[in-house]
Amino acid sequence: MTASPYVSLLAVLLVAPALPGIATRTKSLLTGRRGAPVLQLYFDLAKLARKGVVYSRTTTLVFRIAPVVLAAAVLVAAFLLPLDGRAPIFGFTGDLVAFAGLLALGRFALVLAGLDTGSSFEGMGASREVTVASFAEPALLLSLTVLVLVTGSLSLGGMLGAPLAGAWPVQAPSMVLAGASLFMLLLAENARVPIDDPATHLELTMIHEVIILDHSGPDLGLILYAGAVKFALFGTLVVSVLIPRGRFDPWIAVPMLLGGLVVVAVLVGVVEAAMARLRMDRIPQFLVAAAALAGFGVILLLR
């Protein structure tokens, strides 16, 4: 038992709030604005933790407990990823299903909290969120299927660890397709352009932001932090597939991961600067395209 899984988890949990800031800053610079500081989310979190809360009289315990469920689910999901490139804190056969299940549990809680307010805006956001998620789920599983087929392992620790590096020279096309699909999923699951616009100002055009309209204070802080960690987890998936780190010493692999996450955040910023948000009815097509990419990856491996 080495310390590196714990150290890498701590590092990712600490760095996570910087990632949305990097993405936003990149977008600002590319579109000719100065933009908010990279560390803005840290300031926001510190401020929210100190603030009081306002609860709507319509809401029930579901509204209050949802941020906690979301944060706990995302944290436990982080345990399952081999952040140091070798081993997760704990893993087991089929834990990729648990990973997807935990993220879905967090979404389940957040969506119910939105519906708990009785606001039509939040209902609308909830409806859109589950629509996006339903289409994203098969794409995620197809991407993971590529990794299962390439490595023959059913646990995230095995799939993203050492065997992956050996597979690259042989199965490069499938790996690239899976990586691209996972990057598209990262955009969708973390409410980034072209699926959702975190900077939008009109409730009618929001997806993720509108669900949490009524949350305030530490509750909102938990949601924002969990969102940042989820961003980092999807980033880790992308980085681990495209740059297998299993052969490196953990003390090199962890900085590589953090560097990779920064690159992913910059890429997200570039996408946001380069394109506008998709119309609501085009979103399924985007996600079907993501699933198709991963599906081609699977077909290449099955032939």
């Binding site: 609860y55 299940g101 606001s119 209902g123 409806s127 789920e137 794409a139 699977v298």
Partner: protein
């Protein structure tokens, strides 16, 4: 086995006492509930013993003409289903006494209790019969008593229609099974299952047997496209009966398919692929159609179609594992199917009982008229929420564990070096099912229990009494228990899967990994709950030191929000159904001032009913010939004789023969 018989006799006695004591319903129902509970526990004990020690417990009754020996018995497979039936059935029977109590003076509730006991015993008979004749007898008693229960509110036309459709289809299923057993038993020494297992049917006849089994048991299980009797019948019955039909009786179809597989021993690949395909179709279409429903109980019924699909996915990949000689895939797939059968029985019964409490409290099943029931019915809402998390397959509840096993079977199939590897693609389908189920149950929970009331229906609602809440909480506790301690369910399920797959006990790293993963899943669940509690305490600590205010929901600078402004179930599902409205079976009527959408069943209302009506019209036209007038009939006779004479005269050979 004697204990099982005695327990089932007690259940029957309970039903009889409800009938005999109908003048004093309060006493009759108490005696009924006590006897059913006692009998259920008594009959389940030997089944649990069989699951633990693996010993078969059989009893052979004296030969009864003309059916040969009547053999009843418990092997692992029968025991698993018997426990499933009795555990959920007992909870449902107790709930039923409380649920039907308000209707005592309108309808013969005593008959419903008596029939429920009969149905429970019949289902138990189906899963413990080890010979053809008692199996078919119990099957028919089950079908008829279920029909009578569906018709409980027969004054409503929709109930009579649903009952009729159910009756027709259940007999189609019986006929298919009769034909299957008739063909199968031709070479057998006697009509026991053991004798059937000993005859090895030829290639061709085993194909026919498997096809007939798929037809007969598939109709019973509600597999797409033979599902269309199910939503109507399950929505028409009283809620606790719906729970029994949807949670338990459907599983006799699954039991039958597994039994046929274990008796045949070898299954061809086409059968596995067919099961896998039907599983995908049932799963995806079932949940998609569920999303379109406005009626709470029809929605839950469509989810049964979906879950039968998940079970078939597991069974299909298991059958493929047998066909392609991949014992690990076979055992994993069948384990998932068997385990999901129990899990679905628990959470679907729970959800139907919760829906029953909602219907009782509000008087409506229309989701869009409900809302804000959570604070008014906190216990019902909590139990229903737990059931939702379980059915969506999220950790830390039991639905997650069985879907996790099915996923593993699918992923493992990808490692095979044969055509089997294509089955891995079904994992994406199972993912889609999970995503859509999440959408559907956030819709139900959110629209029914959260927010504000949408009409006057739910304003004065309260939780039902302890006799209703108790069974719901017990089922919820079972769902949680099997989620937190997955070894309880997975352990026996693996042994059953091995016995069906005919796999000798073998050591395989993949199965060892499954065993090793179980405590980790428990740890994952506990870590999730532990972190949740920690964060909850930290949040409480923080909020105790900051101002906490209550206000109204943020209305985006608009006026005060009312219940009618909330998103409805239809609007919630609209983006998902989107342009696929026709696939979802949604019919829309619009005018400049109104919008009306109505979900239909594509198979029933789109195909079966029109074809049936066409046949009816044709028959009507034929009736012109049958006018009931003697002279017309005489004319027909003369015309026929003339035609025959002309025919005979024209045919040289015949003419020669006549000469």
């Amino acid at each position: 086995m004697i204990l099982v018989g005695a327990g089932l006799a007690l259940i029957l006695a309970g039903g009889l006492s409800a009938v005999l004591l109908r003048r004093t319903p309060a006493i009759g129902e108490r005696v009924f509930a006590t006897l059913v509970a006692g009998g259920g526990i008594m009959a389940a004990l030997p089944a649990i013993a069989t699951l633990v020690d693996g010993r078969s417990r059989m009893v052979r009754l004296a030969p009864m003409a003309p059916g040969g020996a009547w053999v009843f018995g418990l092997d692992r497979l029968s025991a698993w289903f018997l426990v499933t039936v009795l555990a959920t059935g007992t909870a449902i029977a107790i709930y039923g006494t409380d649920y039907l109590a308000p209707e005592r003076h309108q309808r013969p509730t005593w008959a419903a209790h008596g029939l429920l006991a009969l149905l429970l015993v019949a289902i138990s008979g189906v899963v413990t019969s080890q010979a053809v004749v008692p199996f078919l007898a119990a099957w028919e008693v089950m079908a008829v008593s279920a029909y009578l229960l569906v018709m409980f509110e027969s004054e409503r036309a929709e109930v009579r229609r649903a009952g009729l459709i159910y009756l027709v289809l259940t007999h189609a299923s019986t006929i298919a099974l009769l034909a299957m057993f008739a063909g199968w038993s031709r070479g057998a020494a006697e009509l026991t299952f053991r004798a059937l297992a000993d005859t090895a049917p030829a290639q061709g006849s085993s194909t026919v047997i498997l096809a007939l089994a798929l037809l007969g048991f598939g109709i019973k299980a509600g597999v797409v496209p033979a599902h269309f009797w199910l939503p109507g019948a399950h929505a028409a019955a009283p809620s606790h009966i719906s729970a029994l039909l949807s949670g338990v009786m459907l599983k006799t179809g699954i039991y039958g398919l597994l039994r046929v597989m274990s008796l045949l021993g070898v299954v061809p690949a086409w059968w596995g692929w067919t099961l896998l395909g039907l599983g995908l179709a049932s799963g995806v279409l079932g949940v998609f159609w569920a999303l379109a429903q406005h009626d709470l109980k029809r929605l839950l019924a469509y989810h049964s179609v979906e879950n039968i699909g998940i079970i078939l996915l597991g069974m299909g990949v298991g059958a493929l594992g047998i066909a392609y000689h991949q014992p690990v895939v076979a055992v994993l797939g069948l384990t998932g199917a068997v385990l999901h059968t129990l899990n679905h029985a628990l959470f679907k019964s729970l959800l139907f009982l919760g829906a029953g409490a909602v219907v009782r409290a509000t008087g409506t099943r229309t989701i869009d008229q409900l809302g804000g029931l959570g604070p008014r019915m906190p216990l019902t809402a909590t139990a229903f929420l737990l059931g939702s998390v379980a059915i969506v397959g999220l950790p830390p509840l039991n639905g997650f564990v069985s879907e996790w096993v099915v996923f593993q079977a699918l992923f493992r199939s990808g490692a095979a070096d044969s055509g089997l590897r294509v089955a891995i693609v079904a994992a994406a389908g199972l993912g889609l099912i999970g995503g859509l189920a999440l959408a559907c149950f956030t819709k139900v929970d959110g629209v029914v229990f959260l927010g504000r009331p949408r009409s006057a229906a739910g304003v004065g609602a309260t939780d039902p009494g302890p006799a209703s809440i108790g069974p719901m909480l017990a089922l919820a506790a079972a769902c949680l228990g099997l989620g937190l301690f997955p070894a309880l369910g997975v352990g026996p399920a693996v042994e059953i899967a091995r016995s069906i797959a005919g796999a000798a006990p073998f050591r395989d790293p993949a199965l060892a990994a499954l065993d090793a993963a179980l405590p980790r899943i428990a740890f994952l669940a506990l870590a999730l709950i532990g972190f949740g509690v920690l964060l909850w305490l930290a949040r409480g600590y923080r909020l105790a030191r900051s101002p906490v205010a209550t206000s109204v929901t943020w209305a985006c600078a608009g006026g005060p929000l009312t219940g009618r402004m909330q998103y409805t179930a239809s609007s919630y599902a609209a983006p998902l159904l989107g342009s696929a409205r026709s696939v979802a079976g949604i019919r829309v009527r619009t005018s400049p001032t109104s919008f009306h959408s109505h979900p239909i069943d594509l198979v029933l209302d789109g195909v079966v009913s029109p074809v049936w009506e066409r046949i009816g019209r044709l028959a009507h036209e034929v009736r012109l010939l049958q006018a009931g007038r003697l002279r017309w009939y005489l004319l027909y006779v003369i015309l026929t004789v003339l035609a025959l004479l002309v025919y005979l005269g024209r045919t040289p050979a015949m003419a020669a023969g006549a000469r």
